[in-house]
């Protein structure tokens, strides 16, 4: 206790000069801060790196009392994620190597049998459909909100009203959005079918045609994520540096050209954030599939997540071993996508 206090006072003089530099730089250069905030050190923050020992990271001996308090504070959250995230992860690995009886209780060791069952054409279809679904949702779910957020950020009257209106789908849950859209597409009342007929197009069986089912569910998911993404991209566009914009206008840039080469790089952190969160949402979309098509017709809209649900909980299937194996595939796919996104795409993101 005493030595730590002494240590603190004796250094306070030399620390003074470094403090301001350190605190101003910390949001940008903090090496252990993960994801969007960290990454590239901006030019303004670079000098801070040459400061020998920043105050924050100075080694100090911890007192037993502080250690006890530190562990006490972290305990509730750690117990929560430990019991319901980390431990189940090991349990999922265990379950994936076991058979199960009619009630779903784990039985004998079956080795990699459940994973071998994943090497079938049926599961290949499920993976392909998951990829198709995710691709549609991420591309359209980011591009469409961009096409709305860009005009909304213009200095025109009434744009705040539009922004609030376009963010409304964010309030819908998987089940509410799905049921409303089932009504929207119900042939007995569908305003969409009506509009298509006006221009002479016969509407397909949105959820009953195996060529359309997954596209329809993906479309509804695009609608669902558009509300949040408009807010994210709108916040990015609101932060665009007007001086740069003005300079590029004077240099003759305008319209699409200005958007692609000036504005887009400036809002790339928001775009990246939207891509990452939308990918996760798409990969984990279950409610829309379950409510709208129940994976059908003929499994044509079954995704990886739906398959986990189907094997474990649907119709009392209780095939927990196979479902756990598929859940682990989902985990691997998610981690791989994140690695690709943070390793490849984020390099092209400009953080100011």
């Amino acid at each position: 206790m005493n030595s730590a206090d002494h240590d603190r006072t004796s250094r306070s003089g030399s620390r003074h000069a470094t403090d301001s530099a350190d605190s101003s730089a910390s949001p940008v250069t903090d090496p252990d801060s993960p994801v969007p905030v960290s990454v590239t050190a901006s030019p303004t923050a670079a000098p801070a790196r040459s400061v020998p020992v920043p105050a924050r990271r100075r080694r100090r001996r911890w007192s037993p009392r502080e250690l006890a308090l530190a562990l006490l504070f972290v305990l509730p959250a750690l117990a929560g994620v430990g019991t319901f995230v980390i431990f189940p992860l090991f349990q999922a690995v265990f379950l994936s190597t076991r058979g199960s009886d009619i009630l779903g209780n784990p039985t004998r060791f079956v080795g990699l049998q459940h994973f071998e069952q994943l090497l079938t054409p049926q599961f290949g279809h499920i993976l392909l459909q998951t990829a198709e679904f995710t691709l549609i949702v991420v591309v359209a779910g980011v591009v469409l909100p961009m096409l709305l957020a860009a005009p909304i950020s213009q200095p025109l009257r009434g744009m705040r009203v539009f922004r609030t209106l376009f963010s409304l789908p964010f309030a819908y849950s998987a089940s509410t959005a799905s049921v409303v859209w089932l009504l929207m597409l119900n042939p007995a009342m569908s305003p969409i079918n009506w509009a298509l007929r006006l221009v002479g197009i016969a509407a397909p069986g949105w959820t009953t045609d195996s060529n359309w089912a997954i596209v329809t569910v993906a479309g509804v998911t695009v609608w669902m994520v558009s509300g949040f993404n408009i807010l994210v991209l709108g916040a990015g566009l609101a932060g665009v540096d007007e001086d740069v914009l003005e300079a590029s206008t004077i240099d003759g840039a305008s319209g699409l050209r200005q958007f692609v080469s000036v504005i887009l790089p400036m809002i790339s952190p928001s775009v990246f954030f939207a891509i990452v969160t939308t990918t996760l949402t798409a990969l984990q979309s279950l409610g829309q599939v379950q409510v709208m098509t129940d994976g059908g017709p003929n499994g044509s809209s079954a995704t990886l997540v739906y398959s986990v649900f189907d094997n474990a909980f649907h119709n009392n299937n209780s095939n927990y071993g196979l479902a756990s194996a598929q859940g682990l595939v989902l985990l691997v796919v998610g981690v791989l996508l994140a690695v690709v996104q943070f390793g490849v795409i984020e390099r092209r993101v400009h953080y100011r």
Partner: protein
């Protein structure tokens, strides 16, 4: 904004036309939800539905009176889930983040990465063991089983940690020198200072809880009295699909809190998230 040149008359017109068309297409489902609950089936079951039809409260009355999928208990369950998840996540996240940022311990960095790693785990990958575990606790008929796995989340810890990290270290040290203890510092100085992130986490966790679907579906499949509004909407769909009015009335009841939060709380959400994530 004043220095930026206003779009010309022509481009302004194009923008308005595009936004109005997009609004009609994208917001028709919202309009149908809100208006449809007040219309009789005869107006709804037309192509296109007649949204200017005969005003009636009969769909709402039927939705509230039908006993196949009682909405009252479902509403209570949803409220319980939303509020419990909000309070629990805010408390656990703030305490853990405080420990990670302001209290020294030899495994602090390790703990931080443990929380970060849990963010990467998609919920569906661990839902099977969780369902088996919660069922084995023998509380299958208790509301608690609806929220038990979600009382602490890595994302909350991360969000609050990012907010705490931006608190100036000099102020922290000044408070320490003045004899301000950890609890007093946390509650009287730190938490008021990070209110945007705190509000964002509260709004976000309530929305998550209220809109959660997969987990209640599993839990309520064993006991209908544990239906939340979300699973009740699905049950209504299976039972009442012939009457869109009743369905839309039930959906509107489900949407009221989240619509209000999105309309009036979106600024908090975005400010809180962008402070930590999009900079």
């Amino acid at each position: 904004m004043s220095r930026v040149t206003q779009p010309s008359k022509v481009s302004a017109t194009i923008i308005y036309v595009w936004l109005v068309i997009a609004a009609i297409v994208l917001l028709f489902p919202v309009l149908l939800t809100v208006v449809g609950g007040f219309l009789p089936s005869s107006d709804l079951l037309q192509q296109p539905p007649n949204l200017l039809g005969h005003f009636t409260l009969s769909s709402y009355l039927s939705a509230l009176q039908q006993t196949t999928v009682p909405l009252g208990p479902a509403f209570a369950n949803s409220l319980f889930v939303g509020i419990t998840m909000m309070v629990a996540q805010v408390v656990t996240s703030c305490l853990a983040a405080y420990s990670l940022v302001f209290l020294r311990n030899p495994i602090g960095k390790l703990l931080f990465w443990v929380f970060m790693a849990t963010i990467m785990v998609p919920y569906e990958a661990i839902v099977v063991p969780n369902a088996l575990f919660v069922r084995s606790l023998g509380i299958g008929d208790n509301r608690l089983s609806l929220v038990l796995p979600f009382l602490a989340v890595g994302f909350g810890v991360f969000l609050m940690r990012q907010a705490f990290k931006q608190f100036p270290n000099e102020l922290r040290q000044a408070a320490e020198i003045d004899g301000c203890g950890h609890l007093r510092f946390l509650f009287t100085i730190l938490l008021p200072a990070v209110r945007p992130s705190l509000t964002a986490l509260a709004v976000w966790s309530f929305l998550q809880g209220w809109n959660m679907y997969f987990w209640p579906l599993i839990i309520a499949s064993g006991d209908n009295s544990l239906n939340t509004l979300q699973t009740a909407v699905f049950a209504l769909k299976s039972n009442e699909f012939g009457d869109p009015g009743i369905l839309l009335a039930g959906i509107t009841i489900t949407l009221v809190p989240t619509l209000l939060l999105v309309i009036f709380g979106q600024r908090w959400l975005i400010r809180g998230f962008t402070a930590g994530a999009v900079k």
